[in-house]
């Protein structure tokens, strides 16, 4: 888009840049505030005293306040179970919707879309009854399984598989591949950026998820980070904003570190999934 360097649109460009940056700053403000509060005393934090002394005390207090290692492990297990199930289910379902003609396909696809409308949160009472009946209350599977058949994931995979040129499918079949062989050797590799992008979204969503785990867990051995954090931060426990911020930063630190470390790959994955 070299046209953007033409003289006339320069003003538009400058305005756009300023707007974009303002937006970004507003956006990042809560995170920035959390980081800043975590390293300062409560009085400095609530008074926005920018010259206050830095301290690590908040982290020490937060760390000692709850079994964080157990929570980290639970969350890690949870996102793994969710992601593994999602990858299998969305791949097979996405492939079926993208490339097969089977009876009732359109009705099924409408049901999938319906899930995008009626989010599980609103049916939380009914989901709770279901999970209890299936004996999965207070287990990692109980938290994870309802998310396996992710409508968004199926939609995304269907989209990625649809964008694979039909000739590649046909060429693979002529070269001797079975239906599943074509899926494995052609579609899955072609959708790699989409897989990576989807995995990132899934991991971060379930790392951050709160409401459903809160309802379905009631013991320390299954409780994920977010629920632990909310218990820790509940008004009854009497901890202050700085300590809560420290605990929050601790909870999202693995995500943040992973994001910063693999930034380039993440961006690539999103860009490439986006270009298709």
């Amino acid at each position: 888009m070299n046209g953007a360097v033409l003289s006339r649109p320069r003003l538009t460009l400058a305005l756009d840049t300023v707007a974009a940056w303002t937006l970004a700053i507003i956006w990042i403000a809560p995170l920035a505030f959390a980081v800043w509060a975590a390293f300062h005393s409560t009085s400095d934090a609530v008074n926005f005293n920018l010259t206050g002394a830095k301290t690590l005390d908040n982290f020490r207090v937060a760390w000692e306040g709850a079994p964080w290692l157990r929570y980290f492990f639970n969350t890690f297990l949870l996102v793994s179970v969710v992601l593994a199930g999602q990858l299998v289910v969305t791949t097979l379902a996405g492939y079926a919707f993208a490339q097969f003609q089977f009876p009732g396909r359109d009705v099924l696809f409408i049901l999938v879309l319906l899930q995008l409308f009626i989010l599980p949160e609103v049916l939380i009472v009914e989901n709770y009854v279901m999970v209890s009946r299936l004996g999965m209350f207070d287990t990692v599977f109980g938290i994870g399984v309802p998310y396996w058949a992710s409508a968004f994931g199926i939609f995304l995979m269907r989209q990625a598989f649809k964008s694979v040129p039909k000739e590649l499918d046909e060429a693979a079949r002529i070269e001797g591949c079975s239906r599943l062989g074509v899926l494995w050797r052609v579609y899955v590799p072609a959708a790699r950026p989409t897989y990576l992008a989807y995995a990132l979204v899934s991991v971060s969503t379930h790392w951050n998820n709160f409401l459903w785990p809160l309802i379905v867990t009631n013991s320390e051995s299954t409780r994920p980070l977010t629920v632990g954090l909310s218990l820790f931060a509940a008004p009854e426990s009497g901890v202050n904003i700085s300590v809560i911020s420290a605990a929050t930063i601790m909870s999202i630190a693995p995500l943040l570190v992973a994001f910063l470390l693999f930034q380039r790959q993440f961006v690539q994955a999103f860009l490439r999934a986006g270009i298709k």
């Binding site: 040129p165 000739e167 590649l168 046909e170 060429a171 693979a172 079949r173 002529i174 070269e175 001797g176 591949c177 079975s178 062989g181 050797r185 052609v186 590799p189 072609a190 790699r192």
Partner: protein
């Protein structure tokens, strides 16, 4: 297994429609072993459908397809023992050149040593040696085309289907790759079925040209048969560059057309000449003057005659709008039936 003179590929009364839309209708065709057959026709004529039916990418509604004597009508593409070159080349973007070429051998679990040997051979044959580790996105269009060819020949299948393999190349490259494909086919003794809409490709490469129209076969034969004895006005107007002019009886002197007043008369550009005033068979107005380097084509408009063109050597400068007279040897006239368009016995 089969007698040596049996056709290698045989299609019997194949019909294929989609929701009532015509693909091909009741076509039959026999292709001898080792032949280069071009399926030629305008878009929508059914040539690609025919190729895809042979490949097993579509199943016919009725009819039988035999390859090497075996009825493959219901067999999936993967078991028909053939290779195919796609218009888009259909290279796998995540695999490098070597992996693309070896794709089929890997699927079929051919031993590694044999894979290596065949790869070296195929790359050598297509002039790709040294590019093994490049991805399809990192090589030129012409090189991609060769990778597709290498993948088609590496398995050593005796039958290779090609779907407009040259249409994504530029004019220069098209000409040289045309020759390479022809050479490859001859050297390896492959049977090639080649789909194209370009009569130049079909005429210059094929042993047998099958000209299709509206889902049926209009004429099948050697290139020279189609050129010198076109079976219908459609063939006459499709083959040749520029194609045959078609003239109504009324536009010609009665003496020439006395025998068949209900005919359409065809004449090739190379058989038409400019005549002195008063000595021509036809009066016409110049509509276009196209200089091609070695020759100039003068096109004419006149009522009752379509595609009147004269081939003149070197550069000739004439302005559109000038009138001229044309003459020809009546022996070169082709006669077609006016109502059916089919050739009349002559």
């Amino acid at each position: 297994m089969t007698p040596a003179d049996a056709p290698f590929v045989s299609i019997e009364k194949i019909t294929k429609t989609w929701n009532g839309q015509l693909g091909v209708r009741d076509i039959s065709l026999e292709i001898p072993r080792g032949a280069f057959v071009a399926l030629l026709g305008p878009s929508g004529c059914g040539k690609s459908t025919t190729l895809r039916l042979i490949a097993g990418l579509e199943t016919p509604d009725s009819g039988t397809i035999r390859i090497d004597g075996r009825d493959v009508t219901a067999s999936p593409a993967s078991t028909r023992g053939l290779s195919m070159v796609f218009q888009s080349y259909a290279l796998f973007p995540h695999l490098d050149v070597a992996e693309n070429v070896l794709f089929g051998l890997k699927v079929r679990r051919v031993p590694k040593a044999e894979q290596r040997r065949k790869l070296a051979q195929a790359l050598d044959l297509t002039g790709l040696t040294g590019l093994e580790r490049r991805k399809p996105g990192e090589i030129s269009g012409g090189q991609r085309q060769r990778v597709a060819l290498a993948r088609a020949v590496v398995a050593g299948h005796p039958l290779c289907l090609m779907d407009e393999p040259l249409s994504n190349l530029d004019a220069k490259l098209r000409h040289s790759v045309r020759r390479e494909i022809k050479k490859l086919q001859r050297d390896l003794g492959m049977t090639v079925i080649y789909v194209t809409h370009d009569q130049t490709e079909a005429m210059s490469m094929a042993d047998i040209v099958v000209l299709m129209k509206d889902g049926g076969i209009e004429q099948a034969g050697r290139p020279v048969d189609l050129y010198e004895r076109p079976a219908s006005t459609f063939v006459a107007g499709f083959v040749g560059s520029p194609p045959m002019a078609l003239i109504e009886a009324e536009a010609l002197p009665p003496a020439l057309t006395a025998a068949t007043r209900d005919g359409i008369f065809g004449i090739r550009p190379e058989h038409l000449e400019l005549a002195e005033a008063g000595a021509g068979h036809l009066h016409a107005t110049i509509s276009h003057c196209e200089y091609m380097g070695s020759e100039t084509f003068l096109s004419f408009d006149t009522p009752g005659a379509a595609g009147l063109t004269v081939r003149l050597a070197g550069e000739v400068r004439k302005a559109p709008g000038e009138t001229a007279e044309l003459t020809f040897d009546p022996a070169h006239l082709h006669v077609f039936d006016k109502s059916t368009g089919y050739r009349k016995a002559r």
